[in-house]
């Protein structure tokens, strides 16, 4: 992985960390908290396809990414919840599509895709599990420095390997894109629609951190595994781990293994997406983010208002794996493969 690609990943950590940490610092409770969280999520995730389409052809992607960081920094300094949420939400959306596109277009391999996404989960997990004002201020200073640095890294010159679709393979495969989005929707759904029965021990207050670390680990190694073994083994391993986690909801370790399994597919999803729509990677990235949220909130709504349906998760897990396998064959049929992505096949 090229060293320049660590910077977007680090910035992703800070953007997600500050967005969540600062909102928690308002100590909101009850329905107002729920409404503000939904508002933040809606602002941060749903406009991403729109921002992606708007900024797709910009040649100043790092600058736009830094503007996203700047909005998050302003949000972190505003002591009023609603205004802060607007800054966090819009800053987050701009940052994600711009830096996401940068990583998608500037990395030949899949590992950087997973690493970029994983650092956000780490920031989220940390923000949910600790509280220290001095550490907050110190991290804010580091965040500002890195956001400025991001404007001066010559990504175009520094990174020799650039993902380029072959001639005649740069049109959008709509069916593949729909199936990829469907898989993301399912993963968002059962990310929320799972009945963990963890014992309420002393560990329980660290649950958010454990979750964050499991998600981080799954997303981070997913890209490396994809580069090493190809997509079919990754889909199979992810499916098996998810199933193990599902059948042992009372075991903390096996549940976390399931969480790792589900998140292994993140890099593969992004890799498939950039091959399905190589000319619109920012839009594609935004599309995945929007449907992750829609799936997540649908899962939350179903869990809140209807009796829990235990049979639903394994069916969705199987559908998720099936849809990704179908995308794999679709891309192969269209000749949109690389040795890394299709290592298993060759």
């Amino acid at each position: 992985m090229q060293k320049e690609l660590w910077l977007p990943a680090l910035l992703h950590f800070f953007v997600d960390f500050f967005s969540v940490y600062a909102l928690f610092a308002f100590h909101l409770n009850g329905e107002l908290a729920a409404i503000l969280i939904f508002s933040y999520d809606a602002l941060a995730f749903l406009p991403q396809p729109l921002f992606g389409a708007l900024f797709e052809k910009s040649k100043r992607m790092p600058y736009l990414g830094s503007i996203g960081c700047l909005l998050a920094i302003i949000g972190a300094l505003i002591p009023e919840a609603i205004t802060a949420i607007v800054f966090f939400g819009i800053g987050n959306a701009i940052f994600h599509v711009c830096e996401g596109k940068l990583v998608l277009d500037k990395s030949e391999k899949s590992a950087p895709l997973g690493v970029f996404i994983s650092f956000g989960s780490l920031g989220l997990g940390l923000a949910l599990s600790f509280s220290n004002f001095y550490l907050y201020l110190s991290l804010l200073v580091v965040f500002i420095i890195l956001a400025i640095l991001n404007c001066f890294v010559p990504y175009a010159k520094a990174i020799p390997f650039v993902y380029q679709p072959k001639e005649g393979q740069d049109s959008t495969l709509i069916l593949a894109l729909v199936l990829i989005v469907l898989g993301v929707f399912f993963r968002g759904f059962f990310g929320q629609y799972t009945a963990y029965q963890w014992p309420t021990s002393s560990l329980s207050y660290l649950n958010a951190l454990w979750f964050g670390l499991a998600i981080f680990f799954g997303k981070a190694i997913g890209g490396f595994l994809l580069d090493a073994f190809g997509s079919i083994p990754l889909i199979v391993v992810s499916f098996l781990l998810s199933f193990i986690g599902y059948f042992f909801p009372s075991s903390v370790s096996l549940s976390l293994l399931g969480v790792v399994g589900v998140n292994l597919l993140m890099a593969l999803t992004m890799e498939f997406m950039r091959r399905a729509t190589p000319k619109n990677t920012a839009f594609g990235f935004g599309l995945l983010a929007a449907f992750l949220l829609v799936g997540y909130e649908t899962g939350y709504a179903l869990k809140s208002y209807v009796a829990f349906q235990a049979w639903l998760d394994p069916i969705l897990m199987a559908l998720n794996a099936a849809s990704l396998l179908f995308v794999y064959f679709l891309l192969r049929k269209e000749g949109r493969q690389t040795s890394a992505l299709f290592a298993f096949h060759h």
């Binding site: 909101l28 908290a33 999520d41 749903l46 406009p47 797709e56």
Partner: protein, 76 residues
Amino acid sequence: MMNIQVFDVAPISFVLPIVLLIGLPALAIVCILVAVLIIKKRQKKANQLAPKAEPVLTASPKEKAPEKGEEVKKDD
């Protein structure tokens, strides 16, 4: 994405299910539709700006290039 499980969320009024099940997906669809329109418009513009393909000139049988070994007749 923030995990709402970590909050002590009070019993939710009838507004939130509507927001969750109708509002958010509707907003997502609107954003996606606008994005697709932007992409389509950009593609259309790019197609209009692209140089038109020049007509392919095919040599008439009379002007056919001499084959190997064939003598070239010269006009007097």
